[in-house]
Amino acid sequence: MARSRQPPNSGSDSAPPESARTKAATARPAIEGLRDRVVELRRVPSDELQDNASNWRVHPYAQQAALDELLEQVGIAGALTAYHSERNGGALTLIDGHERRGHQADWPVIILDVTDEEADLLLLTLDPIAGMAAASAPELNALLAGTHPGTVALEDLLLELGRTANEESAMPEPGLTSTDDPTPAMALNHFEHYDYVVVLARNSHEWLMLQDRLGLEQVEFRLSDGRRQFGLGRVIDAQRVLDLLS
């Protein structure tokens, strides 16, 4: 089922605008021989679906709560994905939708005719490929400005979404702001820049040697060995290292 798509920039000599290039999904060439692996869309009770033993995704509380609130507010609005797994005795086995299946319902399920190996590939890549999409801050901000789910987990999710996207794009945030500059000294000074090099000590010996050679004051961190569940870190000014190296 190969859908015909126009190649990029067809019919025009001018380069497409940035927004068109970043949203180029509608202007890419067709893939020859694209196979349709969907054999059926059917309603299936939760308990007739098997979890995939290879499922590697875990669902933290914040995600569960956001999903629950979305289901309560909107309802079922998407299909799960499953296949008959040879490895699982032919049982209808999930590729996508493990967390949703936890809710008892007759779920719409897209059933694929893929092999176990293909299912593994889908299991590994479906979410990460979706996660590779970048955000266009103006459109996202406009959407966020008019969307107020009013429940805690979804509000948290949208908060994080807006904050992250805007930090990445360095676009102006929604909210109250100004162009005034009452404190000009806040601006960057000439050549002001903050970069760092990470030096990884792979054992305690290296760590102690490093502190000694760098002339770092020995600090006794109050952590018994059994509670050392994170690595120690120190900071040293570049000028001090440059002096030591010269």
Partner: protein
């Protein structure tokens, strides 16, 4: 070899019934400072040697200035009174901790790193969701810190009594102006109760008008260096309301860092 001179202070208001299971469970060594009128209530759950009455103040900034004036240690952490968990968001799955000794070790390490970096204000991240964590930016030098944050002796910062509701942002902007950077370790996040959901604290004081006015005052004070999106009261069903989270209170101060 020296042990970092760290003191943990929690200022609390109207939460004598919950502080033991939240903040004091995580920081049992913390000094709790309360209005002298509340000492009796708190003395039932806080050991006498850890209870520090402060004079009657109307604003958080006044309490914090009073704490600064006590000059308690080289590093003074101020912790909110409704903190219940420490989360590490590095990796595929967040890890949660409630081990007081581990947290004290983290405080030591963070304070020393901040000092060595030349920062006077330091703290931990805000993002709770691992997938939103920037793996290439474990530290932030130009944001603000909240809920759990520390000051290094000699910081010279004073809470502004005209700033009632964005105190954490205001103090960070002051520090950025005076010290150029702050030190925030974004790998770690302290979780507190959602805004206004826990009794006591600011819950009974906050109104929509006050929140909006506070946002306007911040922008008037700091101009383009801050963007404030004030939280809105939202309806949660059954006629109840709750504070939605503000989408973004962002410090726009440029400090290029890796």
């Amino acid at each position: 070899m020296s042990v970092p001179d760290v003191r943990v202070i929690c200022y609390s208001r109207g939460r004598s019934s919950s502080i033991a299971k939240n903040t004091l469970a995580l920081f049992p060594y913390a000094t709790v400072t309360v209005d002298e009128r509340e000492v009796d209530a708190y003395s039932r759950v806080v050991p006498d040697e850890q209870l520090l009455p402060h004079p009657q103040f109307g604003q958080l900034s006044q309490i914090e200035n009073w704490i600064h004036d006590q000059d308690l240690a080289e590093f003074v952490y101020i912790v909110a009174d409704d903190i219940h968990t420490l989360r590490c968001i590095v990796g595929w799955r967040e890890r949660t901790y409630r081990d007081p000794e581990l947290i004290r070790g983290l405080f030591d390490v963070t304070a020393v790193c901040a000092r060595d970096a030349g920062a006077y204000l330091f703290g931990f991240g805000h993002h709770m969701i691992p997938s939103y964590w920037h793996k290439d930016k474990p530290f932030c030098l130009n944001g603000y810190v909240r809920e759990v944050y520390g000051f290094r002796r000699g910081h010279g910062l004073r809470g502004d009594q005209n700033v009632e509701q964005h105190y954490d942002v205001d103090i960070a902007l002051q520090s950025l102006l005076r010290h150029r950077i702050i030190w925030r370790d974004d790998r770690w996040v302290f979780a507190s109760q959602p805004l206004g959901s826990a009794a006591g604290g600011e819950a009974g004081i906050r109104t929509q008008d006050a929140v909006d006015e506070a946002a306007e005052r911040m922008v008037a004070k700091w101009g383009k260096w801050v963007t404030v999106d004030a939280p809105r009261l939202v309806f949660t069903g059954g006629g109840r309301t709750a504070w939605g989270k503000a989408r973004a209170t962002v410090i726009n101060v440029p400090r290029r860092y890796a």
